[in-house]
Symmetry: D2
Subunit: 400 residues, 4 copies
């Protein structure tokens, strides 16, 4: 236990996940919920004693929709009625800061709570200012920025302006339309020496320019795309097929979801980003290319904030004979995502104190497409090996 006061600044604060994080911590403070779903809550005391306490976390953040979090919570309908009533007052006090709008990168989201500045640098400066005020007003020991914004159009990662900090900063200066909002937030956070975690599939800190910037500025960063539902199950079960030498002939995954994020994904450019982060896990775990790995994502309004994943897996076993496994996961996006985002923030805060900067590979367990320290290295995708990596780091057995 310790008394650090940790601020989490959320990009997309008013979304379902952000609202759930805030409400969850408030409910914990009041003793109204257990710590179910928080992966680090029940570990051995000595592993977690250096992490900031859940009860000492404070929230702020940006959102294109300016409504307060009580209104947002009503819209997202994640809390039970009793839970809502218990924290309504607290949520009503929190109003998202103005955010970066950019129709190029996020076509289906139309919120109007936007920065007035129209140059990249003015936006970066405004973000930095927000963070400084957040720290000062709440007397925070540390801040971590977590990106929870809706998925952006897939940026052109190969573009040379992303290859070095010099070229990136020049492009910033020139207001390049290649630079996405997600990159602006990441740049601004790093400039303020604030750790940054990317819970979305958007391209942000995962470009050479910003990784370099993080290392130079001594900032830990992590990403990307929270591994919550279908992919989490996939990376738990695929290793078992390898253990049993069952050959995966095909894997068809479809997802139906109905919240604001789902709507963003019904735009095909955003969808491309998402599909990308879901794609390579199988081959890396199994050690061969699965020829027929299909991932569909469908906006389906009746599902609301719930998410349904359906997987059909075709394997062959001994004598080359075929078998099938089908998995249906009726889950709640925000309920799965919020506690992971909280743990990422606590761990990035610890990493900074431990002086481990740049990409934090030991956080792979939380991500669909873990960033690696070495460019183009194959990330570890198997859930149990990722967990082991994290535990070893917590025990100080490895420095990543």
């Amino acid at each position: 236990m310790n008394n650090r006061k940790l601020g989490i600044a959320i990009i997309g604060l008013g979304g379902a996940v952000g609202t759930t994080m805030v409400a969850g911590i408030e409910l914990l403070k009041r003793g109204l919920i257990e710590k179910t779903g928080l992966p680090l809550a029940e570990l051995d005391k000595n592993l977690i004693e250096d992490l900031a306490d859940y009860e000492n976390i404070v929230f702020g953040g940006w959102d294109l929709y300016g409504e307060n979090l009580a209104s947002a919570a009503e819209e997202h309908d994640v809390l039970t009625p009793k839970q809502f009533i218990a924290v309504e007052e607290e949520l009503r006090k929190i109003k998202p800061w103005r955010a970066v709008g950019n129709k190029e990168f996020l076509a289906n989201i139309k919120g109007e709570n936007q920065f007035s500045g129209n140059s990249h640098l003015s936006v970066v400066e405004a973000i930095g200012k927000d963070l400084q005020i957040f720290r000062a007003e709440n007397n925070l020991d540390e801040i971590v920025v977590i990106n929870l914004a809706s998925t952006e159009k897939l940026a052109d990662e190969g573009n040379e302006i992303f290859n070095s900090l010099v070229s990136f900063e020049q492009a910033l200066d020139e207001n390049s339309t290649e630079i996405s909002p997600a990159m602006l937030y990441a740049y601004a956070a790093i400039a303020e020496q604030i750790p940054y975690g990317n819970f979305t599939p958007s391209v942000s800190v995962d470009i050479p320019a910003l990784i370099k910037f993080a290392e130079m500025n001594k900032v830990p960063v992590a990403g990307k795309d929270g591994k919550t539902g279908q992919t989490m199950i996939k990376t738990a079960i695929a290793p078992a097929f390898r253990t049993r030498a069952l050959k995966v002939e095909g894997w068809y995954s479809t997802n139906i979801l109905g919240n604001r994020d789902g709507l963003a994904l019904s735009n095909k450019d955003s969808l491309a980003s998402k599909i990308k982060t879901k794609g390579s896990v199988l081959d890396d775990i199994l050690g061969y290319k699965v020829k027929d790995h299909i991932v569909d994502i469908r906006y389906y309004r009746p599902r609301g904030d719930n998410k349904e994943a359906w997987d059909n897996i075709d394997v062959t076993g001994f004598l080359g004979q075929p078998m099938q496994i089908k998995i249906n996961f009726l889950c709640k996006d925000s309920i799965l995502a919020a506690p992971l985002a909280i743990e990422i923030a606590r761990l990035l805060d610890l990493a900074k104190r431990r002086m481990t900067f740049g990409v934090q590979e030991q956080l792979s367990v939380f991500f669909k497409l873990p960033m690696t320290k070495t460019k183009d290295a194959i990330p570890e995708h198997a859930l149990h090996r990722q967990e082991q990596m994290l535990f070893q780091w917590l025990k100080n057995e490895i420095s990543v």
Copy 2:
């Protein structure tokens, strides 16, 4: 690679699994199938170089049904027509030896290919004789006995006659009705210094008397109950719930299967044995008692040798909110079981050469209810940790 000639003596040779083992090895010898489904086939050469080659395995065994294996294969309908034609001649040459019948322990199986002897000791002697002839006729370097017989009625494990070798041998002498056929085979194998693996839920070598006997006679033994379908998936996915701190509120598992084993299980005494071995895995993996863990097994004729497992899992996550996972596994019992039984035999053979006797915990990955060296120790159930244990042993990193 090596040239050891390994004999596998199967209790229940004419069953679907036994027949599939024999046919599979014959197909491998002819180059007609890949090594899919054989867990150790593709490991690093240095891990597996001491194991007997698949192609050097020879089969024999006992069965209450005396028909040759070609007839058995037709009945079980596991092979494709092409596979059947390719090995029919070879299968037709193999006829099971007479087996131990006992209506007390196996009510639904009525085969008439039985030992004539009516004392326990005469049966033990006859089994030993079978093994000696098998070795001599095939010029074998080693034999391993694998129990694949239909599940027996749950023996009274607490009975004091099982607690020491002395009392067990006295009970043998007195033809105690408490002693099951499975125990007679195990006793006879150990007496011949032949390694023994129990792929069934029946109580056999897992009693103090026989473990002691194995240690004394320098024989490696392993069990019990092959982890093939539903429980294999269960032990792959349950650790993920722990990783994500999702609380398992209930787990309902039902199985439908239609082969001879399924028929045996439609007897409620045999079913009790089976349910028992499936029961404790969850609690041990999760670290708490799952209050509503239900396992149903149903004989359903239309499924034939295929097996269908359906799992419904209720978990709660952050904010105490409920989610559901449903898994449907359309699998083939023999296709999953046969390669595991082959690997168990190869590993027991190696264990004997490595001079590791008694219970072989490093084989846990193959069993639903792994035997432990220490009485009443909690076995490791998580599939990935079991696999790790085996790999470490293969690398000689641990001696179990």
Copy 3:
């Protein structure tokens, strides 16, 4: 539209279904819900103009648990928080009358709100008195008794005391232990010339003695066992297999449910009643015996008042080739049952005015095991033909 005031006297008023009926009508009166789920609500005006209006229905009834309906509703957790608040006051006013307890027939239910009388005739008299008071206090035009009590042990339907009214009344006189609570309620209702509908699998009005009594006393009766979830789907889809000449080789149905009814069914005597009413529908619809039709019901606490039905259907088609259909129905027992029970009551009231007495076959659409006018006739089970039968009766095209 009309102004009839209809009383529904429910056996098992405080159960989940009864409470939902009362709450539903109260919510309708307040305009807080649509008429979704009420099968007759949206039919052509001329078909339904003679039925009592939903808004003119008043409730009373018996229950072994004496708590008021607001407390019952909290326990059953069927209403949403908003719905509960809207009708809480009204529900709190309704307290079940004392009911008939009988541990012989209902082992798992232990409520103490019981009649003090200890002879069958005193119980019959008390029930009659309750109905008279209910009518007088509410100034009702008609009462209908609906049985919603937990499933009783299967009565010995073949017993000769049930074969004639004379022998039944003699057995009543002699306090025969063969007579179940469900029969006492049915007898008492008929004696009061009050229509009676049996929504449960218990044996009640479906014995020759009571059918005769109903005809003599000019009382319409109907049953039995509300067709809500799995069987409803089964009788919708089985006719399609016949339409396509797909041969049903096997049908495995399992149910998991966690409410008070589920608990009652975890008693194997009650379960036998339930399984019985679910059993014959397939053969009657398909025109041949399905050899492997298995129905399992499991009490599974985490499901609460929700009910999950899982069906696996094996069919063969052209060339004798096999196919599978799997259906998973995540439903809410009370939500499906309550509106059907309301419609049954409205239709029995109409039947009495139309002077059609005895068994009401045109209500088959609501029942798993429809009673038939002719003893041992095969009931119509196909959902669409049952519906057609009801519509024709409503149009006065048939007198049943």
Copy 4:
């Protein structure tokens, strides 16, 4: 029974469905299979006595792939090994006639067994010639043409050249690129006074010009798109939701299939045709617009000729409360389709003798998007009412 000799000329003869039709009838002739899957086989004798016997059917037809049917059967892998061996010789004798190729309308199919003629009229003439030869060589009493070709790009149905026979024939003359292969076959069949059934989603006889032509030439026609798997189940179960007044809030259907037809559908133009015929059934059955009805079709190679349909249905019931139904249909496309196509041919033959020309609405039970006699009429989609319509026509109760 009768001795009519009926020829079925199949467009796409070498496809999986066509091959299965031919093999199935051959197996029936040899008494090697039952009549399972043939919807009219087991009806009352008096209903079906005028239909041509299955055993008197002879096959011919066109295909872009010129291989004989034994080779085709091997590729499609629909027959069991025993079935294949039994009819191999017969199948080897049948070689498809040259077919109409058109990359505009069918992009993914590349067969080279094409007509040499390059004007529409020469193609029509060649088709007519094929039919005349087929009749003469086999001494047929009647021929029926059945379209089983891969789905074409959606033709522009609104184009005015399709509105009258005059404009259509002028467009023919001018080799309009708007005219699809499917239309040429239909035109040619009608010109020969040969009944025509469209088992595919392609636009063919369902344009005013060709319907007029059929009526003028006294030819019965029917279509379109065989209702085999998912849509068949959908139209069996959707009426049940109406019966129970359960409001369908959303219906998500996804299909995975891996045969040649699936490959054709992976072209987005062909897919558009298919989706269209699957789209309207729900709204027509339920009587309101289902806002969230999504139909996905995915080419998934491991499924082969099998087809898997997965439906998720969200309904609300009483009190507005949500429930879910999930249906998984593991079916075999050709096994479901072939017997329906055979019955359509037998019924069109009968219709011609009964002098009922033009659109045959009584065949609706076989089609996803039944053609109606009256333009823009809403077709009957409910499976049971469609069946009733057919039975009444067979009984001569209605003339359609």
